[in-house]
């Protein structure tokens, strides 16, 4: 019992330590037996999932968890803080990580032949980076984890399509370095004026010096840096190539998580390091909403023009990131609830869609959507998952996408920004256009030898995570009341603080 108590106090830090150590042990595990790393990664991600669940339960039932690394007190030492916001983001990271880990077995064997051990090592290190970014309460520690996650993402993308994957990875590296350097500069500016690196401490110290131009410059650096990281519209150039040419498993993981954690970080800096009042005061939220509205429309329009399914999904991601940021930019409780909800929903939907794209590629080597004819007969379960996730992306009632879009629209109305309601509607119509082309090909396409198509479903390890994600898309579509009341609305209220 004492052994358990000993571990229980260290649960927050274990979410970062376990994937880190497991990641570095993966080569040894792979050296013992080539098939083992898959089980090893599943085990590690499952353990993290359980720990994050327990952490979130603790946060909901009691209070925010503060963990002091090495026993050093907060303003001097590094502190890990788990509140509702990052407890929930951590849970999503662990859950999607676990799902993708289950899925990865066959896909990685096919797409990264001979390098599965290296792939899984980097996979776990990416989870480490994302977890660390989310959980930390210290802005420099945040930067280090940001770089860990970026470097591992470059490596994962470079393992993809021969040539193209490497070029995509290099372009992402250049953009990512600019973004990370901006964030580092912002941290330096804030440190120069406050003399602390702790987020909570900074939150208390900053209001006295808001008239200082250095603080404004720091905010600008952060927003520019994070906009590159999340792929907000004018700064999205790295994103489509990176998502398209990464291995399917890596695409699902990166599309599902990287940008979400970027958005989380943006929100954390806007509302928990700076105050909402200040961010509104310098018009940053207004800039954000308009950029987001532009991203929503332009992302959807670009998605229509694509014929590669992964590239189409990547452009769709750009538009979905717009939705999330629109919710936060509105700075009212309903809008932020919608944004938070959409972080979760988009992680489920986009992950499911990329997993489907990977499963189709695994079975048929096809990524061009005009060659999808007859796929509905060949892979019925996979295409059904695709249907559910795509309907959710469009926002059909009964799926999660509807709930979050509903909240975003209500939030826009409450903020008296009717134009954003129009933007959401138009974008939903555009979503129908680009997904309909695929439905059309999958179920209504008429290949000449459609009678000869045999049922040839993806392996079970691929089907299980896809089906679970699709079920969740529908489940939260009908039963989103509990998480909204228990997590998202209180969270939105706390994030906003005293601001109406």
């Amino acid at each position: 019992m004492t052994g358990f108590d000993l571990i229980a106090t260290h649960l927050p830090v274990l979410t970062v330590v376990i994937p880190l150590i497991a990641g570095f042990l993966t080569p040894i595990v792979g050296w013992i037996d080539r098939r083992l790393p898959w089980y090893w990664v599943m085990l590690a991600t499952l353990v993290i999932l359980l720990i994050t669940l327990s952490n979130l339960a603790t946060v909901i039932t009691t209070d925010t968890i503060h963990y002091k690394l090495g026993g050093w007190n907060p303003p001097f030492g590094i502190e890990y803080v788990i509140d509702l916001l990052n407890g929930f983001v951590c849970l999503i990271i662990a859950f999607i990580g676990f799902m993708v880990a289950i899925y990865s077995k066959e896909s990685v064997k096919k797409e990264v032949p001979g390098k599965t051990t290296q792939f899984y090592t980097v996979f776990l290190l990416l989870i480490t980076g994302l977890m660390g970014m989310t959980i930390t309460g210290d802005i420099f520690n945040f930067y280090v984890f940001l770089e860990i996650s970026s470097l591992t993402a470059y490596a994962l993308i470079a393992m993809g399509d021969r040539g193209d994957g490497v070029v995509a990875s290099f372009n992402y590296l250049i953009m990512g370095t600019v973004a990370a350097s901006f964030i580092l500069l912002g941290i330096g500016y804030l440190y120069a004026v406050t003399g602390t690196l702790n987020m909570a401490d900074m939150h208390n110290l900053l209001p006295d010096i808001y008239e200082n131009k250095v603080v404004l410059a720091a905010l600008a650096f952060f927003m520019a840096g994070f906009s590159i990281k999340v792929g907000l519209f004018p700064l999205h150039a790295w994103l489509p190539d990176a998502y398209t040419h990464a291995p399917s498993t890596a695409s699902a993981l990166i599309a599902g998580l990287m940008t979400k954690v970027g958005v989380y970080a943006m929100v954390r800096f806007m509302f928990s390091v700076f105050t909402p009042a200040f961010v509104i005061d310098v018009n940053m939220t207004e800039i954000l909403t308009w950029a987001a509205a532009l991203a929503i429309i332009v992302g959807s329009v670009f998605a229509i023009a694509q014929s590669d399914i992964k590239r189409m999904l990547a452009y769709s991601s750009i538009s979905q990131i717009g939705y999330i940021l629109l919710g936060f930019g509105l700075v009212n409780v309903i809008g932020i609830t919608g944004g938070l909800l959409h972080i979760m929903n988009h992680a489920f939907m986009k992950c499911a869609l990329f997993l489907v794209a990977g499963a189709v590629f695994y079975k048929t080597d096809i990524r061009n959507i005009y060659q999808f004819q007859g796929l509905g007969k060949k892979m019925p379960i996979t295409t059904t998952v695709f249907l559910i996730a795509a309907l959710s992306m469009i926002g059909v009632p009964g799926t999660v996408g509807f709930t979050s879009k509903w909240y975003l629209a209500l939030g826009s109305i409450e903020a008296d920004q009717w134009i954003f309601v129009a933007v959401i509607l138009v974008s939903s119509l555009l979503n129908i256009v680009y997904f309909w082309r695929i439905f059309d090909n999958i179920w209504f396409g008429h290949p000449h030898e459609i009678e000869n198509i045999k049922r040839d479903e993806a392996p079970l390890t691929m089907l299980i995570p896809m089906v679970i994600l699709a079920i969740l898309c529908v489940f939260f579509g009908f039963f989103s009341g509990y998480p909204i009341e228990q997590i998202f609305e209180p969270l939105a209220t706390t994030l906003l603080g005293g601001v109406p």
């Binding site: 930067y143 470079a158 193209d164 290099f170 600019v178």
Partner: protein
């Protein structure tokens, strides 16, 4: 007399940092050669290191090590000694490690790009990729294939 030169001279390290940062940024964006882009990134990051180190420094400051602590004797006039701030130095040590690893990854990628395309010039690589994968004309190509098969 406080001319513009004095303003520049008073905080010349910050001006150097800004100039270096812009040079690096320019190289990352405008240079076509991939190696030059990486060099640009390095200059950019070095500028930030310079910024952090200048931030820590104070006129007349010394290394933050307590003098005469061994032997049990107490430090006299400890308050008179001005120390530079050690925290930014520690931070930047970490950032240097990050920068080195980013450079290593970038160079590794460049080696693979060179093996694949036989060039380090962005335009040449772009042209090679376009000819291999005409992504935007994929629909048109598919259309023509369909038309041929229908006839």
């Amino acid at each position: 007399m406080t001319g513009i030169l004095d303003v520049v001279y008073a905080e010349y390290n910050y001006w150097i940092y800004v100039a270096l940062m812009m040079i690096g940024f320019y190289a990352m964006i405008a240079k076509k050669n991939l190696i030059k882009k990486v060099i640009g990134a390095n200059i950019f990051q070095t500028a930030i290191f310079l910024f952090y180190v200048s931030l820590a420094d104070i006129t007349g400051g010394t290394a933050p090590i307590l003098p005469h602590v061994h032997g049990g004797e107490h430090v006299e006039h400890a308050a008179d000694v001005i120390y530079t701030n050690p925290v930014p130095h520690c931070l930047i040590l970490t950032a240097i490690v990050v920068s080195v690893s980013t450079t290593a990854v970038a160079l590794a990628l460049i080696i693979r790009i060179y093996n694949e395309y036989g060039s380090l010039d962005e335009d040449v690589i772009l042209a090679a990729r376009k000819s291999l994968q005409p992504e935007f004309s994929e629909y048109a190509r598919q259309k023509s294939v369909d038309e041929v098969s229908r006839q």
